[in-house]
Symmetry: C2
Subunit: 363 residues, 2 copies
C-alpha cells in the first residue's frame, strides 16, 4: 500500500499496485509449484485479461471462471483451458454458447446432478462433479460422487474429476478465531475430496483432477488428495482476507481512491466512495465497510451509494476537504465488478489502465 494515494484521475476509482500484484501472483505460483499442485486461479476476482496473462505466464494451468459470459471473455483474449466452476443449467441459448466455447478451448464445467449434466450432452465440455465440503451451497454429498459420475458417463459425457469450494472458511463464527475457521474448512475440504475421490474410484473412475479452492484455505493444504488449487482473491486481497489472516495489509494490491467531500464533525469525515464503488459486503470478521489504512483506528460506520462515513477515534486529526484517501474494500470481487477499468499504479503513478473486460458477465 502506498502511503500517499496517487493523483491525476477522477475519484472514486480503483487502483492496482502492480508490484504487489506481481508479488501475490508469484507467491501463489511458487507455493503451488513447490507443493506439486496445478494452479487454476479464479478469474471472477479480476475479470481482466491482462491479469489472467500474468497468472498464466507464472505457470497457471488454466483459469477458473464462474459463468459462460466470463469464459467467453477469457477465451476471446487467449485462454486455452477454462473451467466453469458452477453447476450450469443450460437452456438452448446457453447450450449453443458452451458448444461454441468447447470448440475453441479445453472446457470443463461443474455438475451436481444428472439432470443438469444431461444438458451438457454434445457440447464437448468435460464434467467435473461438485461436492459439498461443508459450505452447504451447491454440490452433492462426497459419498455420492461415484453414483453421479456413473450417471453422467451413462449420458456419454467424460468425467474429469471432482471439485469443491470450502466457502465456510470465510464465514464468521463468534465462538472461534479466524484461523480456527480456516483450518476447520481446509480439513473439511481434504476429507470431502478424499471421500469423493474414493467414491469415484469405487465406481470405476480415476479422477484426473481433484480440485479445491479459496484464498483463505490455499496455504493450509496438507499432504493429501488435492491435485489443483483455485484461489481467486489472492491476486488483490481485501479487508476480509486481512481480517481472516490470509494476508497482511502490505499484500493488498487493490484500493479504492476516494476524495474527502465533507468534514461535518471533528470525529467524522465523508468520502466519495460508497457501495457503488466498494460493494456493500459485510462480514463479522471485518470491521465496518472497508479498511482506511491511512487513519489507524478509523472505521467506515455508514455506507451509502456514494458516501462512506468514516468515524475517527478520539483525538485523531481529520483529513482536510479534498484530501485523497485510500480504502481497502471488504470483498474485492464485488468491488472490481462495479468498475469499468483498473488504474495500474507503479511507484505512485498511474502507468496503465486495464479494462474489467468481464464486468457484469453474469449469464
Amino acid at each position: 500500500m502506498p502511503d500517499t494515494p496517487p493523483e491525476g484521475f477522477a475519484t472514486p476509482a480503483l487502483t492496482v499496485d502492480r508490484d504487489v500484484l506481481e508479488r501475490n501472483i508469484g507467491r501463489m505460483a511458487r507455493y503451488a509449484a513447490t507443493g506439486g499442485f496445478a494452479l487454476r486461479p479464479h478469474a471472477k476476482t479480476h475479470k481482466c485479461p491482462q491479469i489472467a496473462e500474468l497468472q498464466l505466464a507464472a505457470g497457471a494451468v488454466g483459469l477458473t471462471v464462474a459463468t459462460i459470459g466470463e469464459a467467453e471473455v477469457f477465451a476471446a483474449t487467449g485462454a486455452r483451458d477454462l473451467f466453469i466452476a458452477y453447476p450450469l443449467w443450460l437452456d438452448e441459448g446457453k447450450r449453443d454458447r458452451v458448444a461454441a466455447l468447447a470448440a475453441n478451448v479445453r472446457l470443463s464445467a461443474g455438475v451436481d446432478s444428472a439432470e443438469s449434466a444431461q444438458r451438457l450432452i454434445g457440447t464437448g465440455a468435460l464434467a467435473v462433479i461438485e461436492v459439498d465440503s461443508g459450505h452447504h451451497r451447491t454440490g452433492v454429498q462426497p459419498a455420492e460422487a461415484g453414483t453421479v459420475a456413473k450417471a453422467v458417463r451413462s449420458l456419454g459425457l467424460d468425467v474429469e474429476g471432482v471439485f469443491t469450494f470450502p466457502g465456510h472458511g470465510m464465514a464468521h463464527d463468534p465462538d472461534a478465531t479466524p484461523t480456527q475457521v480456516r483450518l476447520h474448512a481446509a480439513r473439511d475440504q481434504e476429507k470431502a475430496l478424499a471421500e469423493a475421490a474414493d467414491s469415484l474410484r469405487a465406481a470405476g473412475f480415476e479422477p484426473n483432477v481433484v480440485s479445491g479452492g479459496s484464498t483463505p484455505t490455499a496455504a493450509l493444504r496438507e499432504d493429501g488428495v488435492i491435485s489443483e488449487l483455485r484461489p481467486g482473491v489472492y491476486v488483490f486481497n481485501d479487508a476480509m482476507q486481512v481480517a481472516l489472516g490470509s494476508c497482511t495489509i502490505e499484500d493488498v494490491a487493490l484500493s479504492a481512491v476516494a476524495t474527502v467531500v465533507s468534514v461535518p464533525a471533528p470525529d467524522r469525515f465523508v468520502l466519495d466512495a460508497g457501495s457503488k464503488t466498494l460493494g456493500a459486503d459485510v462480514n463479522g470478521w471485518a470491521r465496518g465497510y472497508g479498511l482506511v489504512p491511512g487513519y489507524p483506528g478509523a472505521m467506515i460506520t455508514q455506507l451509502s451509494e456514494h458516501h462512506a462515513v468514516v468515524t475517527l477515534p478520539l483525538d485523531t486529526r481529520s483529513p482536510r476537504l479534498g484530501d485523497r484517501v485510500t480504502v481497502i474494500p471488504n470483498h474485492v470481487c464485488n468491488a472490481v465488478n462495479l468498475a469499468d477499468e483498473l488504474l495500474v499504479v507503479r511507484d505512485g503513478r498511474v502507468v496503465d489502465r486495464w479494462p474489467v473486460a468481464a464486468r457484469g458477465a453474469n449469464a
Copy 2:
C-alpha cells in the same frame, strides 16, 4: 408481480413490469401535484433515460442525480434541469465538466462548506445548501444554513435554497416499528428544513427551493415548509421498501429473474442470481438477501457472487431444476447499477430492452 417469470432470455436478468412502473410514476406524480410539491425524482435508482422521460412527462420539474457522470448522461439524453444532490469537491477536471453541463442545462449542486463552494465559482451552477436532518452523513447543522449561505454568496455564487436527505428513515432500530422510524425521520426532516429556511431568511435569503427526499418519507409530508420532493426508489420499489411498509409487494416493478441450478437438499435450492446481480445489501428490516415471492416463507439465507441459497419452510415443495424464480432485490439502486440493461415486460412478455445508461457513473 407476475406469477410466472417470463422466458426468452438468459438468466440472471433484471425485468421491469412496465404497468407497475407507470402506476408508481403516476401515483407519486399525483401525490406531489395534490400536495403542491415540485417533484424532482432521484435518477440514481434507474440510471435510465427512458424512465427519466416517463417521470418528466408525468410532471417532474427536473431530475436529481448523485454524480457529475450521471448528470452528463441525463443531460445528453434530454433533461434540462438537473440537481446534483451531493457536496461535490471539484478538482480541475470535474470543474470543467460541471461548467460544460451548466452551459447546457439548468444545474444546481449541493454544498455543505464554503471551501467546496469556492470550487464552484465560475461554473454557472447554483448552490443548494445541504443540512443534516438526523442521518449524520453530510450537511451542516440547520441553524448554520444562513451563515454558509452568506459565505457562499460572498464568493459570487447564487444560493438556490436548502436540501436534506432523511436517510435515517430506513435505518433499522430494534426498539421501534418501521412506521415509527419513518415518521420520526419525516418529522426530523420537516423540523430541520424549517429551521434551515428560517436561518436563510434571517441571513437575508428567500429560498427558492426547500427540498426533502426519500421514498419512505415522501408520503408522510405534513403541511409545512417543504417545496420539493426527491424520492428515487418509488419507481421500482424493493424488498427494503416492502419491509418498511412504504409499498406493498404488488408495487414492486423490478425483479431479478433467476434459474434454479441446484436442489441439493429437500429444504434448499440454489438460484443463479448472487451478489453480482442482486447487490449485497442487508438491512435489519428486510429478511435475508432478497424476497422470493413465489415461495412464501422462503428465505435467501446465503448469498455468493453467483448463488442465492434459498431455504424453504418445512413441508414446502421445492421448485425443479431449471425452473425460473423471481427475486426482489433488497436495495434496487445497487441491483440496477450491476446490470447493463433492463428487460421491459408487459403481460408476461419482454417488449423492450432499456440500457442502464448511467451504470457505474460514479465520478
